[in-house]
């Protein structure tokens, strides 16, 4: 029995069917698992590898290359704050410090209520509006310590 649900397996198979080389669905398989579980555990990575027909090492190589694939459990909302050059110049450091102190966590950590995980990320393509961050699938720009508090209040 696979540790993956039937729905997950079916979605992965669907992705595989879209490519000439089914192994090209490796990334999508990881996305499917993460969409269902919030993150990708060792067991589900191995199970997904089996469905796609690659070795766990091949799957792991892809999983660990992309920083949007989470190989550890994350909170309900993942905050990814851009540390690339434009945001750095426009105030990244104060935003970062504010996030860390107000949430009481460092990068890679999750608040004890499981509400937020804080991660650094490279350029979000939102450079004109730096400093920028992403919370879940939403993008936020022109951040200041004050606006951050208001923005985060919406994520429960």
């Amino acid at each position: 029995m696979s540790v993956l649900s039937d729905a997950e397996i079916e979605e992965i198979r669907h992705e595989m069917a879209l490519y000439e080389d089914p192994q090209a669905a490796t990334i999508e398989a990881l996305n499917v698992v993460q969409n269902h579980r919030g993150w990708v555990s060792d067991e589900s990575l191995e199970a997904a590898a089996e469905v796609v027909g690659v070795t766990p090492t091949q799957m792991e190589a892809v999983a660990t290359f992309y920083n949007l694939i989470f190989r550890k459990p994350v909170g309900r909302n993942v905050i990814m704050i851009c540390d690339s050059i434009s945001c750095y110049l426009t105030g990244y450091e104060s935003v970062r410090d504010h996030l860390k102190t107000s949430l009481g966590i460092d990068f890679g950590q999750t608040t004890s209520d499981n509400r937020f995980t804080l991660l650094p990320i490279c350029c979000l393509g939102n450079c004109g509006n730096g400093p920028a961050m992403r919370v879940g699938n939403d993008y936020h720009g022109n951040l200041t310590p004050e606006t951050i508090d208001t923005i985060l209040a919406d994520y429960v």
């Binding site: 060792d42 690659v54 070795t55 766990p56 090492t57 091949q58 792991e60 660990t64 290359f65 992309y66």
Partner: protein
């Protein structure tokens, strides 16, 4: 041809090469990391920076990566340019930022490409004082140690393992500042060629764990040019020893055979020479029936007595040299000598001998295999029986990538672009084997069946290629369709290749391959044959023209013989156990000369400790009919000596004339008496050969502590031993120059280049080409055309019975490597295999134990379902955890 200028001098070069390869070939010391002659260029490390100028007026120039720059006509470069040199020094400094600088405790030290490059670029002072990233290392099993902190992220390992060897359990994990080269979890690498990582990685990330267990620096090893004894391909190796103990096997470059790579059986299989249970003293069976050490003279006297008083027959061995076998034959007489092969293997090996003679001008070398564009593998699971061939076949499939790249104007060295151009397009490989093999990921089509079906298919292919070739009747349509496709593909290929082996112990399979070759070569002179046999000297044994071991057993059974003298052979591997048992019980005397405590050794009345490849000189004939010499690595303590020396001692004791004292006279005697071996004298320079009056060193110039090596035994320095058998010296003294004959090159070291894969460049005609002084060995097969096609064999159609598929395993099926502890650790339980229908018929499920009789012996093993097997076929594991001497015609009852 193109002319390019480097540092003011003009060179004639091949314009399809890149500037790095050209510069190295011309003798420049140009640093690099990510490039490798077999893996080509990706331009990742930025270490090979040079200055390129637009024209003679351009004084500025611009930095270019030599490995990514074509050597096009008229181009101008400088290596010595200051800016380029400075960049190279910076690159190393930056690569070293995270490196732990732990050379003193690193097993790569002294043969490390990273050390070499650091020195070559002049980065000799560390300025960085910040923290370094560290990693957790993995336990990669018994072969390879892992120390990720030393990684410089050059990606050579994955480019070798993934792109070249097609392995899927080593990858670059992580990204940017945090890249990790390893597996998803701890565990041994699954690929059969993983050991090459030890040499491919330019740093100490991957090192040889078997060397680490009794570690010694490269410069302190005493080496010899040697030949791997674990299959028939004859890969060249450089075993290293210290204080009379073998420490490791390293690759020894041969431009036509193994070039840069060995298989894991060959690299890690030498541990059989250092086992505790190995006989190191002469032994005789005492009154209370145990083998006890005796003095050498007493042993000789006892064996002399046994031979003189009995009717003796000598049993030769395909794992021993021509010299050892000849000496035994000489001792007992030609008519009292058998080749030591099982009856079936002997027939198949003789068929291969004839096949080679018929096709003497079409025998591929292993290197040539890589450039063939269509392959038909007949019967053999080559990954398990001739492992290195599988790696070459993988390259032949990928030759398609180079062809497609050429059509798209992509240079052959542009590795990523070639890969993209090639994608999933491969040259066709057809396999006909009893079951699915490890090559199935690259085969165009596989046919699975018993030996008879495989032979039928091959005969059908021959008849489709040439209507003159006899066509098998009563072949089913499905098989005929396949034959049609295979024939069509081979016909259309530029350089088709036929691979066939003796693993099934079936000579019809071999003669069928002969018909395919005949049909192919009628139309295409470029067609090639590459046969494989089971052991290092199987082909050599077939050249003796002696009967198989069956003859010896029959002679004992009929009472004509009462004494067996066995040379490095385990009779239990060659015939059914109950039969061998009975024969041994009826013997008056069993004399065994061996270096391994086999079942036969354990039953002996007298044991003479024979030298293994490490303690002896000898000649082996590989699968292509190439005679190659291996040289003694060290002189062992105690009475271990070559079988041929034991035989000479015994002959003298028996009052028979012996014409030889050393290898030279012995080889002369062999060639005089057995003209089929003419040529073996040219396999290496004679023992009297000197250069500038000097011998050729086994030790490196930097061998340390010679004067104190045995100080705890005796403070006086030992005199170096004099080698009576070869032109090598047992010391660091001797000729180190550029005209060192390839056959005598014991190790590769060159000024500035200490790592094996890089230092060898200085001994090649061009990087990755042939050895400057010629690739070792001589082909001794003389051409003999047997004329027409071979007639079809009788087919037997006893529909009901079970048929045997011998199934080999790289780590279990070759008797000597299987005794090496590191190798043994990789064999976890062999099984009897059947398909589902057969399992149902036998009333067993996966994992159940199944008891069968095979050639009258009982065998009980767990069952594994393998649906690639045909109906009514039982896969029998060959080796220590299964049985030996089983072949396609073995009788099995379930």
């Amino acid at each position: 041809m193109a002319k390019i200028t480097i540092d003011g001098r003009q060179y004639d070069v091949d314009e399809t090469d890149n500037v790095l390869k050209v510069a190295l070939s011309k003798g420049f010391d140009l640093p690099y990391f990510c490039w490798h002659p077999e893996l080509h260029s990706v331009g990742a490390c930025r270490q090979c920076a040079v200055k390129q100028y637009k024209n003679g007026d351009d004084t500025q120039g611009q930095i270019a990566m030599a490995c990514m720059t074509p050597a096009s006509d008229g181009s101008l470069f400088s290596i010595s340019d200051n800016e380029a040199a400075e960049m190279r020094a910076q690159v190393v400094e930056w690569l070293m930022i995270n490196h732990p600088h732990d050379c003193a405790v690193c097993e790569e030290g002294g043969e490390c490409h990273l050390q070499d490059m650091t020195l070559m670029t002049g980065h000799t002072r560390r300025r960085y004082i910040g923290p370094k990233r560290t990693h957790r290392n993995q336990n990669l099993g018994p072969f390879i140690s892992h120390e990720m902190n030393r990684c410089i992220a050059c990606y050579r390992c994955v480019r070798y393992y993934r792109d070249y060897a097609d392995g899927n359990d080593l990858r670059a994990l992580g990204s940017h500042m945090n890249v990790y080269f390893g597996r998803d979890t701890d565990g041994p690498f699954e690929n059969e060629f993983s050991g090459n990582l030890v040499e491919v990685c330019p740093t100490g990330v991957f090192t040889d764990k078997t060397l680490g267990a009794h570690y010694i620096r490269k410069w302190d090893l005493q080496n010899a040019p040697s030949i791997c004894t674990h299959c028939s391909l004859g890969c060249n190796t450089s075993p290293g020893s210290r204080r009379g103990e073998l420490r490791r096997i390293q690759n020894r470059y041969h431009g036509e055979i193994n070039h840069y790579f060995l298989c894991d059986r060959g690299r890690f299989g030498a541990g059989f020479t250092t086992r505790d249970d190995r006989p190191r003293q002469p032994l005789s069976r005492s009154a209370n029936n145990v083998l006890e050490p005796v003095a050498k003279d007493d042993a000789i006297a006892a064996v002399r007595q046994a031979i003189a008083s009995g009717r003796a027959i000598g049993i030769g061995s395909p794992r021993a040299s021509i010299e050892d076998n000849y000496a035994l034959r000489h001792l007992l007489g030609a008519e009292h000598f058998v080749n030591g092969l099982s009856a079936a293997e002997s027939r198949a090996s003789h068929a291969v001998r004839d096949l080679l003679a018929d096709n003497a001008n079409h025998i591929a070398t292993l290197r040539e295999v890589e450039s063939c564009d269509a392959v038909f593998v007949i019967g053999e699971d080559v990954t398990q029986t001739a492992p290195r061939l599988a790696l070459s076949l993988r390259q032949s499939a990928k030759t398609k990538h180079f062809e497609l790249a050429r059509a798209a104007n992509i240079p052959k060295w542009h590795a990523r672009a070639v890969h993209e151009a090639g994608q999933h397009h491969y040259n066709p490989i057809f396999e006909a084997t009893p079951a699915a093999t490890r090559l199935q990921d690259i085969t165009a089509e596989s046919t699975h069946g018993d030996a008879q079906t495989i032979a039928q298919l091959a005969f059908a292919v021959a008849s489709r290629l040439d209507s003159q070739a006899p066509a098998p009747s009563n072949v089913d349509d499905e098989l005929l369709k396949r034959a049609e496709i295979i024939a069509e593909t081979l016909r259309n290929a530029t350089k088709p290749l036929i691979v066939v082996g003796t693993g099934l112990g079936d000579s019809d399979v071999v003669t069928a391959a002969g018909n395919v070759m005949k049909a192919l070569t009628t139309a295409n002179d470029a067609a090639q044959i590459f046969p494989t046999l089971l052991e290092a000297n199987s082909l050599g044994m077939s050249l003796f023209d002696a009967p198989s071991i069956d003859h010896a057993l029959t002679q004992v059974e009929s009472g004509d013989v009462d004494t067996l003298v066995v040379n490095q052979n385990d009779i239990f591997e060659r015939a059914p156990t109950h039969r061998v048992d009975a024969v041994l019980k009826n013997l008056k005397n069993l004399v065994v000369l061996d270096h391994s405590l086999t079942e036969t050794t354990a039953r002996a009345d007298h044991v003479l400790p024979a030298g293994s490849f490490a303690e002896a000189d000898g000649t082996l004939i590989n699968n292509e009919g190439r005679a190659q010499r291996f040289f003694q690595v060290f002189i062992s303590e105690g009475p271990i000596q070559e079988t041929w020396r034991w035989c000479a001692d015994l002959a003298r004791a028996l009052g028979r004339p012996v014409r030889w004292n050393g290898m030279d006279d012995l080889i002369t005697a062999i060639v005089d008496e057995l003209p089929q071996f003419a040529g073996i004298q040219d396999a290496a320079p004679s023992q009297s050969f000197r250069k500038a009056g000097m011998r050729f060193p086994r030790g490196t110039h930097r061998q340390a502590a010679r004067t104190a090596l045995y100080a705890e035994i005796d403070v006086r320095e030992r005199r170096p031993e004099v080698d009576a058998d070869s032109a090598l010296s047992f010391s660091m003294e001797g000729y180190h120059g550029s005209e060192l004959p390839s056959e005598l090159l014991a190790y590769a070291y060159a000024p500035g280049w200490e790592s094996n894969q890089q230092a060898i460049t200085r001994f090649q005609d061009e990087v990755g080409g042939h050895l400057k002084m010629g690739d070792p060995g001589v082909r001794i097969m003389t051409s003999k055309d047997n004329g027409g096609y071979t007639k079809l064999p009788q087919t037997n159609s006893d529909g009901g019975g079970w048929r045997v598929a011998p199934r080999y395993h790289i780590f279990d099926s070759e008797s000597q490597s299987a005794r090496a502890p590191a190798i043994a650790e990789r064999v976890n339980g062999r099984q009897i295999t059947v398909n589902r229908a057969s399992a149902d018929k036998l009333g067993v499920a996966d994992g159940d134990s199944l008891s069968i009789t095979i050639d009258g012996d009982a065998l009980s093993l767990p069952v594994a379902i393998d649906d690639s097997l045909g109906d009514q076929v039982i896969g029998i594991p060959i080796g220590s955890q299964g049985v030996s001497g089983v072949h396609a015609a073995s009788q099995v009852e379930a």
